[in-house]
Symmetry: C2
Subunit: 356 residues, 2 copies
């Protein structure tokens, strides 16, 4: 399994990307092709002992910055994203991973790989940390105003992902709405529901915002505008809660005294906390984007994973692992098969309306 990695993608590239690639090569025995300006990448690699690791460099002299317009990938033909995507197209890599400017990675993937035949619009997914079981939420930003048919295709792609990556059979599909009842929803949601009902997928209906984290669906579809608002709102609420606690607790001299008074108790709690530490570590992991390891871009004709711009080396390692696993599990053929089954189901429904 060979993974092409955008050495120049991410807020802390190329350093942490190279660090993460070395970690991934060592941990999973993956072949890694770092894509970027050769001298820059080579200098970063020199900080590591990599003689025994299957890491190669493919030269891409140009870089698309984190804040550049996505279409810059078209002007800078030799940028690391487009070169990386082409490695997959040409069969020289099994997957491509980048923590760069996500709009630009999507554009590069689309230009470099094209769409899977029959897919109208690729969609960006994310593994949503629901409890008890995670789900895949898509689209989180590729299409702000999709048509109902696109949402059905997002569902098909999400199902293929959930089957292959979560090992589920007949994953449950929900659609984000402003109420559980079938009559709730925007025009888009209400137009999409009958199509999902007729799709042959295991469609469970509307899912409210508060239920996205409850594990009631394995695949949750929405338009890229709403999906993006959801993931960023979640980020905002989590940080709001911790900011609030911090600010309230450290306000005023009385509180500072109180916090000092807590120290002896905390020391006495140390043995208990030490025993708990694996659990606490697991907890932080569950809420940590670094462990989630990137968003799959579904619908392009090849495996592409987009990492968080703020990724550190651990997150890059996870992103590379996710890309390798998606390729190994045959994500693209699974989407093609799902698409074919859907086309057959809808064709049958058109010919024999009574079957609907």
């Amino acid at each position: 399994m060979k993974i092409a990695v955008d050495a120049m993608g991410g807020d802390h590239a190329p350093r942490v990307v190279v660090d993460g690639a070395v970690l991934a090569a060592r941990a999973y025995g993956l072949e890694i092709t770092l894509v970027g300006p050769e001298d820059v990448v080579r200098a970063e690699l020199a900080r590591h002992k990599t003689a025994d690791l299957p890491i190669t460099i493919v030269h891409a002299p140009e870089v698309v910055g984190m804040t550049e317009h996505p279409l810059a990938v078209k002007q800078k033909k030799a940028n690391s994203m487009l070169v990386g995507a082409r490695l997959v197209k040409e069969g020289r890599a099994d997957a491509f991973a980048s923590a760069g400017n996500s709009g630009a990675v999507m554009a590069a993937a689309l230009f470099g790989l094209g769409r899977i035949r029959g897919i109208e619009r690729p969609a960006l997914g994310t593994i949503w940390p629901a409890s008890p079981t995670p789900c895949i939420l898509l689209d989180i930003g590729a299409n702000t105003d999709p048509k109902p048919e696109y949402l059905v295709q997002f569902a098909i792609m999400g199902v293929a992902y959930a089957e292959r990556m979560f090992g589920l059979q007949h994953p449950r599909v929900g659609i984000v709405s402003n109420g559980e009842e079938a009559e709730k929803g925007s025009f888009l949601v209400r137009d999409t529901c009958p199509l999902l009902q007729a799709s042959g997928l295991n469609f469970i209906g509307n899912v409210e915002g508060k239920d996205t984290t409850r594990g009631i669906a394995d695949v949750i579809v929405t338009d890229g505008f709403t999906g993006n608002v959801i993931i960023k709102e979640a980020e905002g609420i989590a940080s709001f809660m911790s900011r609030l606690v911090k600010r309230e607790l450290t306000a005023g001299a009385l509180n500072k005294t109180a916090l000092v008074l807590l120290i002896p108790g905390l020391i006495l709690m140390l043995p208990g906390l030490l025993l708990l530490s694996p659990t606490l570590r697991r907890l932080t992991k569950r809420l940590d984007y670094r462990e989630i390891g990137g968003a799959p871009l579904l619908g392009v004709d090849g495996v592409v994973v987009i990492g968080h711009g703020r990724s550190d080396a651990r997150a890059i390692q996870q992103m590379i692992f996710k890309a390798a696993r998606s390729a190994e599990q045959g994500l693209v053929p699974a989407i093609q098969a799902g698409l074919a089954a859907w086309q057959k189901a809808t064709a049958a429904a058109r010919e024999f309306p009574a079957l609907r």
Copy 2:
């Protein structure tokens, strides 16, 4: 100040509504008119000493249930919501408050009070617990597919609210989008932005999901679909985080031992925690919907506040207080004034395009 209260609205009505009304009458010296089936309300009131309190009953024999279709308010003409809204229309109450079925309360308010002249669609707002300062977020569910012009009117109504209820001058207005950059957004957002720019309001541009809680805008407008998803997502994330912590900590015998080991330390921490307790109480309040006290329905021709269905007596008390304060602060005239200023600004812009 006389507030009409829907005695039959809410999951725990009429009991907690009557309890909350008694609390509000006592705490704020408000006159309260409880609207509902007279015998039922009288029986609940009999549990309290109310001889000295200005609480009256207006008979409304019919009830619209929490799960009924909003249009039930049209069939059951003598329901407590419609009767309550009519009391405001007839000048027999200064505001109406209900913790009932929010769709039905909106319908009753619209039928009973009508819209403010010039307002196309009423919107439901909520006080969003941003930090350092709260903001008003609207629409959170009245209009799933609004036109750009409606969003501008939501902004005007939100500004009137922020001026009167938060005491702000020139409140900052933002619009929810999938990115900060001006080119980001759904068609709706991109069509609305130029209208907000030309509106004469203090428009600061796009606000991402993660920034809604950062206090960067005082008024945040969005369509009712997205707004509803946002508030329910926030609820979901908060409950997900606490569920996760609880489940992980109580899993396994080792963790249970560890938790027992924490007890002596916790005992030692008691003095510090006692000192901190007012702060901890304030913190819980900030995150507690009961303290927020209901969502204002803006754009109907009278003050209407809708409480959370799960409201307890304390939340009902807060809802009644919010309704009284909105009436006292002249919320409806403030919206009318904002609307007139906007109509003047846009008329001038049409006549003298260079001023835009």
